[in-house]
Subunit: 346 residues, 2 copies
Amino acid sequence: MDLVAGVLAGERLALARLITQVENDMPEGREALNRLFSHTGKAHLIGVTGSPGTGKSSLVNLIAKAYRTPADGRPPCKVAVVAVDPSSPFTGGALLGDRVRMRDLAGDPGVFVRSMASRGALGGLSHSTAAVVQVLDAAGFDKILIETVGAGQSEVDIARLAHTTLVVEAPGLGDDIQAIKAGILEIADILVINKADRPGVENTERALRSNLELAHPERMHIGSCGRGGKANQPKAGMPEALDGQVWVPPVLRTIATQASGVAELMAAIECHLAYLKATGEWQTREHERLQTELTQLLQAVLVARWREGVSDAELRDVVTRLQERELSPLKAVEQLLDLDAVPESY
Amino acid sequence: MDLVAGVLAGERLALARLITQVENDMPEGREALNRLFSHTGKAHLIGVTGSPGTGKSSLVNLIAKAYRTPADGRPPCKVAVVAVDPSSPFTGGALLGDRVRMRDLAGDPGVFVRSMASRGALGGLSHSTAAVVQVLDAAGFDKILIETVGAGQSEVDIARLAHTTLVVEAPGLGDDIQAIKAGILEIADILVINKADRPGVENTERALRSNLELAHPERMHIGSCGRGGKANQPKAGMPEALDGQVWVPPVLRTIATQASGVAELMAAIECHLAYLKATGEWQTREHERLQTELTQLLQAVLVARWREGVSDAELRDVVTRLQERELSPLKAVEQLLDLDAVPESY
């Protein structure tokens, strides 16, 4: 069976098989990505990141269902969910999560769920996530939800893949957790306080807003001065955050288990999409993303091409000389590449 | 002033200045690293990683003090602390932490503390941490403690720098936190349950041991069968974990605020060092680390050399053609590098 043709024809088994090849960076997977590339670039990629305990999986579930049964009579979107859990390779937690999810979404041919829990080299997981998302994009999914645990740099990189990034918080996870999230607010397009019926929700909202102010002083200025305290709460269908073409990250409250706050959340996501399209930001992000992808591929190919001309023995010998401090790494590179001096711009 | 000479002569101001140059990847910093390289490779690098709330900063403080005032009459070690906090670039938490730390260690010329809170590109922080550690190594610090928050891939990479890695837990941080740490156990040489006077310490220890068993079944087999349940608790000065040359990660309890459990912890760290030296593992890790460093530098230089021959306009044009799906990334690389086909091994 030609998996690429199968994926383009909407066959789920072909899709699942090809994703496995791509995830494992197999030669067939690489070739398929190359052939599928011209079909990509259409999906709206939505990142959902948050600490464990914020209920972000339930929220992702809810968003997927909302896209399948739109309230306003529009046709349902095809939805894919990619759940990335880099930190539990042993527990099988990610797989269990899938099963729980599938109970709600099972049997719906317009929904596809995939977990990624493999660990690779530095950047390995964000690289394979990007590749899997490309396959789903080519397969015609309109909305691709990328769920990450959201604490380290690799999760931030995965979130950067997305057009629209939701950062999920919950009351009562402690100040420590709040503090660790400060860096992640930088990438938030929409902030969601889930489990908003819990005590302490006002404190969480206050902490989020003040961290947000530190992260984006210029944005909050517009949010709070330009249109008053409620300005950064978008109303359904109204892209009012577009004033001056600056996006003000709204802070929303949800209770995923009771499906409370969903309409506002869906409106905010679609409002952000409208903002991206209206301002040209969609194109800018796409350009940056493709440039990064190109550079990474170039790097890999340049190293592979160089490596073909060097024997294992020669390389091992150089490392031994490094270990004995006869050579510095810079001198070693000059010698291996036969350069008088390395370019200053490296 | 020649900063390199100053650092080698033990001048603290030169050290602080050079670290700033190295951290910011300035040309002077790169040149200094090259000159300092022959003086590196002597320090014992100790990684300390754990979630916020485990009290790992207090523990690092305590370890530093213990190395400054050894109980057994040996001469004190020179100690450097590198505190890496990638996730709070805005709060200034890292700087505040330094001040709290300095209250205890202030005025001791044998201790040097440095915080790193900058965010860079993917791998940027682990790259600059490695460089700063090299400077401290060349400056003659015997023990370099590298403290990380420990959740994502970049923290794991930073921890991989170390010869000896401590993973710190605490009771009562919730099952979610336990779960997220599973991946990090893979890199643990020593497990520390701090705040061991808190309720739930038995549960934490049980959870850690069972996760550890999943991570290292072969190690735990030796630990539990070969020498009974208490086998993986090293006694002071006795490297009894060396049986069969397999390291059994011990699980230790401490209460950092009361300096409780410190003697056992220090013994375990030194025991691990003895294990590394006795088994040749020290050399193996050093070889791997230098090989990774060499490969990364090669990659950067190869890209820089290629980039010198390409105009900004040409590169922008290629990305635009990618964006319009006229080219795939693989075809773009073939075109930019003037190859018939990319090497299969990329």
